[in-house]
């Protein structure tokens, strides 16, 4: 019944300034041995696809769009017919700008890397994608960079933002950081030893984007940007679905980190119970009623929770984000799912 239906999902509060408009700062630890890779010299500066795969494998480049090694992606793309190559700079999570900032500040390296890949794929069509709904941005995003078009994609979290960036059969999506490292590998012969991360949150005195060498402890990175107040929690990998770390002196930066965020919240706001306001049910993308599922789990009625659709939950986290009583609705449903859902390959799986 679609009479009174509205679009589900929510616009997240993107607090990307001031990190978005500042220059990228290098924060590199110097090491004794400088490793280089050997790069074949080619006429007219055009490389074939197999040569690019070899260069990417030697330089150990990791794609920041989905965390895979770049040479594996290029190798599987050899079997398909590619019509579009997309440089991905969509930063739709709050506080993070580790893809958009290098696109705006290091334009020559990004466009150079994209042109090498374009020539290897028989001159397919290329463009960049950028997120539309950043309401507090101070710099203007140009319409084209060095002749390559910049397209804006939009949508609410999680429904349309996810759909805009799915790899279809005739397109190849590569993150902006991987393009920069590929350009450096070809022109200067460098391996990838650094990564781009954003340092932000409401406890940091100087939020900015850094180029950090892999293996640095997170405590050093936080102290480089300065703490305005002591945080309650430190999160890496994104604010909506990241990982919570407890010991920042022993956790190290890797090529998959993405961001470091430090938060502090008021503890007196956590004493409330569910007041049945219904905001979680209004925004659920899967048409569930998270309020009733949460209450059934807390009481202990498992069959009720399964009847109400607990196994259909996609784990987006919008119900927890929007709850005024600050309850962990999404986490409770996910942990219930892990304990109760029948595992594949057992007898229970045949019944379900």
């Amino acid at each position: 019944m679609k009479l009174f239906d509205t679009v589900k999902g929510v616009y997240l509060d993107q607090q990307k300034e001031p990190a978005l408009s500042r220059d990228i700062v290098k924060f590199i630890s110097h090491s004794e041995n400088i490793e280089t890779i050997s790069c074949p010299k080619v006429q007219d500066d055009k490389y074939t696809l197999n040569e690019l795969i070899d260069i990417a494998k030697e330089a150990e480049i990791v794609d920041d769009h989905d965390g895979k090694m770049l040479y594996r992606k290029l190798r599987t793309a050899k079997k398909r017919k590619i019509l579009y190559i997309i440089g991905d700079a969509v930063d739709d999570e709050p506080y993070i700008s580790s893809q958009l900032n290098p696109l705006l500040k290091m334009q020559e390296e990004v466009c150079g890397g994209l042109k090498y890949i374009k020539q290897a794929f028989d001159n397919a069509e290329t463009y960049f994608t950028v997120y539309k709904h950043i309401f507090d941005i101070e710099t203007q995003i140009p319409k084209e960079i060095d002749g390559i078009e910049v397209r804006k994609v939009g949508g609410r979290y999680p429904v349309e933002g996810v759909n805009a960036n799915i790899q279809t059969k005739d397109s190849l999506i590569i993150g902006v950081g991987a393009l920069i490292f590929l350009y450096r590998a070809i022109t200067k012969g460098e391996k990838q030893k650094t990564t781009f991360i954003t340092v932000g949150g409401n406890c940091i005195g100087n939020p900015c984007n850094l180029e950090v060498s892999v293996g640095m402890p997170i405590m050093t990175v936080i102290e480089r940007c300065g703490l305005a107040q002591n945080p309650n929690r430190i999160v890496i990998g994104g604010a909506m679905a990241g990982i919570n770390i407890i010991d920042p002196e022993k956790t190290l930066v890797t090529k998959y980190t993405g961001s470091v965020l430090c938060f502090k919240d008021n503890e007196k706001d956590r004493n409330f119970e569910c007041i049945n306001c219904g905001r979680c049910e209004r925004q659920c993308p899967a048409d569930l009623n998270p309020m009733l599922i949460y209450k059934s789990i807390k009481i202990g009625k498992d069959k009720n929770a399964i009847f109400l659709g607990a196994f259909d939950c996609i784990g987006c986290g919008v119900c927890s984000y929007i709850c005024p009583s600050k309850l962990d609705v999404s986490y409770e449903i996910q942990s219930f799912k892990q304990k109760t859902m029948p595992q594949g390959g057992t007898d229970e799986d045949d019944e379900a």
């Binding site: 929690r233 409330f272 119970e273 049945n276 009623n289 259909d312 005024p324 009583s325 986490y331």
Partner: protein, 334 residues
């Protein structure tokens, strides 16, 4: 660095908290007290303050006796304390207000489990108890702008009956419609100012604290049925206007039908809830014993909320399983 804790994703939350939701309802009730002060003097505000202190203090004391963690930022009992005097005349005895408060918090809220767990609306339960016990005192109202009510004494003379009593006896009220819009006629303290109430409802809609489905369905049902079954020889249009503007119909439809705890959640259930409440209101007005009985209607409808939620979830579960079967059959074919 202070000790870091274990937390669960997502790690950021919206800036609104539970106090925002409760403060929005309180802000929507304050203009009614200002209008009551303008018409009836300072006694209206004194009644409000006494009721709020009684409700809030009793709620904290009972939470302490039940050995629960006391939450000083829980404002739901303050909202109950603000709504109860607005149902009564401005000349009411202080004792009646306190009796209604005690019944509302003790029997209708704390016995069922406190904030968020109550089945019946506590303000409606308190008013219902006071109506049954003191039926002759609750329906006599002072004349606005002429009243000169004493602030603390309880002996007041010169009270009249409201247009809803005239409708009950089968007559046509003689108040002008423009007077009814601005609240210049005898009636309950908060339920006479029609224009102010409609603008407060618009405020609640813009802030997204209230949704329009329940209230709009309720008002449309009351207007149509009140026009068809008129109690005097008035015609459709005039009868429906008098039914909507007299008594506590509009006040209850805006503030009691949007209380989040005791009303169903899904939009379809809210529309059915509004239609049911509207039909019962018009029925009670024809065959009921008192002249204003919206509180009894809402207590009856609150008892059906559990069934309505359950039936709606069955409907949605069926839709989900049909969608899954369709997906499975498509995958097998292709």
């Amino acid at each position: 660095m202070t000790k870091l804790k274990n937390n669960n994703p997502p790690y950021i939350k919206l800036k609104d908290n539970a106090r925002t939701v409760m403060c929005d309802m309180m802000i929507a009730l304050v203009p009614l007290y200002i209008m009551a002060y303008f018409y009836y003097g300072a006694r209206a505000i004194a009644l409000g303050i006494v009721s709020v202190l009684c409700c809030f203090g009793l709620d904290l004391l009972l939470s302490f006796l039940r050995v629960r963690k006391i939450n000083y930022r829980d404002f739901t009992s303050i909202i109950t304390g603000l709504i109860i005097p607005l149902f009564m005349p401005a000349s009411i005895h202080y004792g009646i207000v306190i009796v209604a408060d005690i019944f509302a918090i003790l029997v209708a809220k704390q016995v069922f489990g406190g904030t968020g767990n109550n089945v019946f609306n506590p303000a409606a339960a308190g008013i219902a108890f006071a109506t049954i016990s003191f039926a002759d005192k609750i329906f006599m109202y002072p004349i606005p702008l002429d009243a000169h009510l004493p602030i603390f004494s309880n002996e007041i003379a010169g009270l009249v009956q409201a247009p809803s009593a005239i409708l009950k006896f089968g007559g046509i009220p003689t108040t002008e419609i423009s007077d009814m819009l601005f609240g210049n006629f005898p009636g309950p303290m908060g339920a006479t100012n029609i224009l102010v109430m409609l603008s407060c409802f618009a405020f609640l809609l813009i802030r997204r604290t209230a949704r329009p489905h329940a209230t709009v369905a309720y008002l449309i049902t009351c207007a149509i049925l009140g026009g068809i079954f008129s109690r005097a020889d008035m015609g459709f249009f005039l009868s429906s206007i008098f039914e909507l503007f007299s008594g506590t119909l509009l006040f209850g439809g805006i503030y009691l039908l949007n209380e989040p705890t005791t009303v169903p959640t899904r939009n379809i259930s809210k529309i059915i809830f509004g239609v049911l409440a509207g039909a019962l209101t018009i029925l009670f007005r024809h065959i009921g014993a008192f002249e204003q009985q919206f509180v009894f209607v809402i207590l009856i409808c609150n008892s059906f909320v559990g069934i309505m939620d359950y039936l709606t979830e069955i409907y949605y579960a069926k839709k989900r399983s049909e969608a899954k079967n369709e997906l499975n059959s498509n995958q097998k074919v292709s």
